[in-house]
Symmetry: C2
Subunit: 521 residues, 2 copies
């Protein structure tokens, strides 16, 4: 019975259980098998339903939302095919360690055996991206299944860090009689504190020959301040991995370098040190394999020691280490905002304008090399949160911006996207317009998969054949991003010079609601 004495069904118990645990935002693309779940979302006031017109937007938005709030978002997806459309951004969320609860509708249990057209092995689709999977078997049990899903998402069981929980709800488990779950509070992520002895042991070795990789919750403001103390005291050098899930940065926060992308560059960095300390990070590996380069980018003679795993309390370990070292508080100086460039448009000019005008306390999402290039410039000039593309599957930055903007309605969001990446999930623009989200989108419109042209030439090919070139080329026809945005209700303009871009980004940032600037680099 619900409070009002009305019998509830399984769907209602599921949605009520979620909101009772503080899980109250659902990025949805439902189908017929999810109609009772829609009815329950409609009935439970606290649950917000956000429609996305492609499931990759749902999953990328849920990732961005949960990275910002630390509370799982839910997705509502339609059987195996709908989940399939969401796989790529679930892969990114898995790499980010994001807590997330997928709600996947399925046929009624008795209907599966008839192999109707949409029948698929949903658990198999979910497996590569899920830390936890369950198919509900009874409508009375769906509420408790939701509790287990939330707990699995928040860790530490069944995996040390939790992650993606996928709950599959057969239609009869949604429409059958439900059972109200006693209200419980959301479990917090229980990060194990690193043992004092381990901290002491690391403290003995950190020196100017040490490079320390910081990731996980070591990249909070408190963690970064502790890391800065350690660096100031010992002379060690700090790096984040190439693609950390979330970084707090700005002029008031000690500077942490970001590891470069290509393996030769990483090896060059590593060659300068004799010791690597892992603080929530892993030893560096090449993003891809190359014929004459190692996979593991730790040169001979560099010893590797671990301060903390990512699922442990990296922030506290850094504080404990700084205290053990008796390291003083350092006051970062930051850098003044740069001046915008004039003349020809270029990635450099765009990054300069972004660093000149990005509002304090903004959130930045990316899924391109050019977007990533903004990170070092922003790091010391603007207080912000940076959400990287963690899993290498492009098409994440736009959806993540949607989720971040919904999680943090008072913070402006900047999405710095490549044209190739943004095209995969261009439907995020529509949800940004519908929800009137304060997102300024910059599309680096270079009209090619630039990284592929670079990688192709790395094979030693100088003369790219016409068929190969056509497979990297986004021109013929040119994509008109202004039209793509306006078609989905988002105000937009194009910039062809650095000056035009500088004016356009300021208009975008000044407007409430979504705004897209196509930068024709």
């Amino acid at each position: 019975m619900a409070d009002n004495g009305v019998e509830i069904n399984g769907a209602r118990s599921l949605i009520e259980t979620l909101v009772a645990h503080g899980v109250d935002c659902c990025f949805a693309n439902p189908g017929t098998s999810e109609m009772h779940l829609v009815e329950a979302i409609d009935a439970v006031d606290e649950m917000r339903g956000v429609l996305c017109l492609f499931e990759g937007v749902c999953t990328g938005a849920a990732d961005g939302y949960a990275r910002m709030r630390g509370v799982p978002a839910t997705t509502l997806l339609h059987l195996g095919a709908g989940l399939g459309n969401g796989i790529a951004n679930l892969h990114n969320a898995r790499r980010a360690g994001t807590p997330l609860v997928n709600l996947i509708g399925d046929h009624a249990i008795h209907h599966v055996a008839y192999d109707a057209p949409l029948t698929a092995d949903i658990e198999a689709v979910a497996k590569p991206v899920s830390a936890w999977i369950r198919t509900s078997r009874t409508s009375e049990g769906v509420g408790l299944d939701a509790v287990d899903a939330i707990r699995a998402a928040m860790g530490p069981n069944p995996t040390p860090e939790g992650g993606i929980a996928t709950l599959i709800i057969p239609a009869d488990c949604a429409w059958g009689p439900g059972r109200t779950v006693d209200t419980q509070t959301l479990p917090t992520i229980d990060r194990r504190r690193v043992a004092a002895d381990d901290v002491v042991s690391i403290a003995r070795h950190v020196d100017e020959q040490t490079v320390m990789f910081v990731d996980g919750n070591g990249l909070t403001e408190r963690g970064a301040i502790a890391a800065g103390r350690i660096a100031a005291r010992t002379g060690c050098t700090l790096y984040t991995p190439t693609f950390p899930a979330r970084v707090e940065a700005g002029p008031s926060i000690p500077h942490i370098n970001r590891l470069p992308y290509f393996p030769e560059q990483v090896l060059e960095v590593m060659g300068g040190y004799s010791r690597l300390v892992l603080a929530g990070a892993e030893a560096p590996v090449s993003f891809f394999a190359y014929q004459n380069l190692p996979s593991l980018l730790v040169p001979d003679g560099v010893s590797v020691e671990r301060l903390a795993h990512r699922h442990e309390d990296v922030e506290q370990a850094l504080v404990d280490l700084a205290d053990e070292l008796d390291a003083p508080i350092v006051t970062p100086t930051g850098r003044p905002r740069p001046e915008a460039l004039t003349g020809d448009i270029s990635t450099r000019a765009i990054v300069r304008s972004v660093a000149a005008h990005a509002p304090d306390d903004c959130i930045v999402t990316v899924d391109s090399g050019a977007g990533g290039a903004a990170f070092p410039s922003l790091q010391q000039t603007v207080r912000h949160t940076f959400l990287h593309l963690t899993g290498g599957s492009i098409g994440q930055g736009g959806p993540a911006a949607v989720g971040a903007a919904i999680a943090c309605p008072d913070r402006p969001v900047l999405a710095l996207l490549g044209d190739g990446g943004a095209m995969y999930t261009n439907q995020f623009l529509w949800t940004a317009a519908r929800e009137n989200l304060d997102i300024t989108v910059v599309v680096f419109s270079n009209r090619q998969y630039n990284i592929l042209d670079v990688e192709y030439r790395r094979l030693g090919i100088n003369d790219v054949g016409s068929k190969a070139a056509s497979l990297f080329d986004l021109s013929n026809p040119d994509l008109d991003w202004v039209a793509l945005a306006q078609a989905q209700g988002v105000a937009a303009e194009a910039a062809r010079t650095a000056d035009e871009f500088d004016a356009a980004i300021q208009r975008g940032l000044a407007s409430r609601g979504p705004y897209l600037v196509e930068a024709n680099v």
Copy 2:
């Protein structure tokens, strides 16, 4: 050694083997791990590479291509995340029984253990949609792996009807030394002929109390003509399933009804007969489960007999049955082209105009109820090939149109799409523009997931709450399909009345190259 005496690598042996077997079209969205495969496509003149800006377009296009040519197309996709983006249309292709070879790049074998960001369990992602999966283990073996993939796609092993073969190629198997495969010919689909005794047995029972479901290669012109003879001789009624993969139809071909969608409608049809004969089809089941309706839609008292399975030679079985019945050739009369309607725009008016103007020998793809509504009108008025949405995952009609147009460059293609469905894979427009494909797209722009509104009300809900309504609603903001098309290089116009639509569709059909008409129904 290749013919020119140059050492070839695994990638080259793979692509050469594919084209030697007549598999010469690749719908591609490559990444870094596929660079050697791109190099090989570039080097082998006979292989066509078609760039798609989202993997669901690759897989849907490959499905449309192979349904039309009867020869596998290939896709080229980037690790697990790229394959994930293609899953939904692979699900549809699996339901269609389409022969297809996925080429999925992976990290070099030695690199997988380092769990670089894009590492994923690709075989697990492929499993729900693949009849055959292999990860190559040596560069010398990749060519022979391709032969096995083609054979698996064409059947009859390992599954009776072949289907989707997924070949995963680690980067070192592409860049290492390859071995030329002796040229072989493409295996043809070897459909078993139904035994004469079984045909004779069925012949005894077919009468006016019989309904016969025809599917598979029973829906070729020859198959339909044989089915028409059987119906004329015995008085039986002919139906296709609700969503057959490919139907040849037109005024010169005997009329075969299409089974309706909703279970009550199917039960009403079935209630008129005492015997169901399956000719390449299965007994009808409800698309979704409902609380007070059965899954299997065969009423008590209706006996079920099988003439042929879908993987058997249904066409020949129908011919044999017609001969056994000594059935005469019938000359269908067809119907005259309808007159276009005037006044308000409606699905009915659009279907009328399409039937009035669709060119003879056109190919029609759909992924919406409104598009499907065109089928009965076209069936008796225009000689055409109709490709249905087989697996229920919308977003298939546009990509399938791309593949069909590439497979049959001399045949005009009509894509009749819902706005919701077309949005999932709107990137098909760009490939249509780049390849200058003769596709006329009609978008039924009703600004809602209409089927969900219908299904929601079927729950007995008359008063749809605002949150529920928002999850079915594609307005706020309205999608501007003209701008979406033009942004991707496709000429487009909107129609707000029946007269405007009638003029617009004629302009679209008259133009070579892609053209989109947004029908504001």
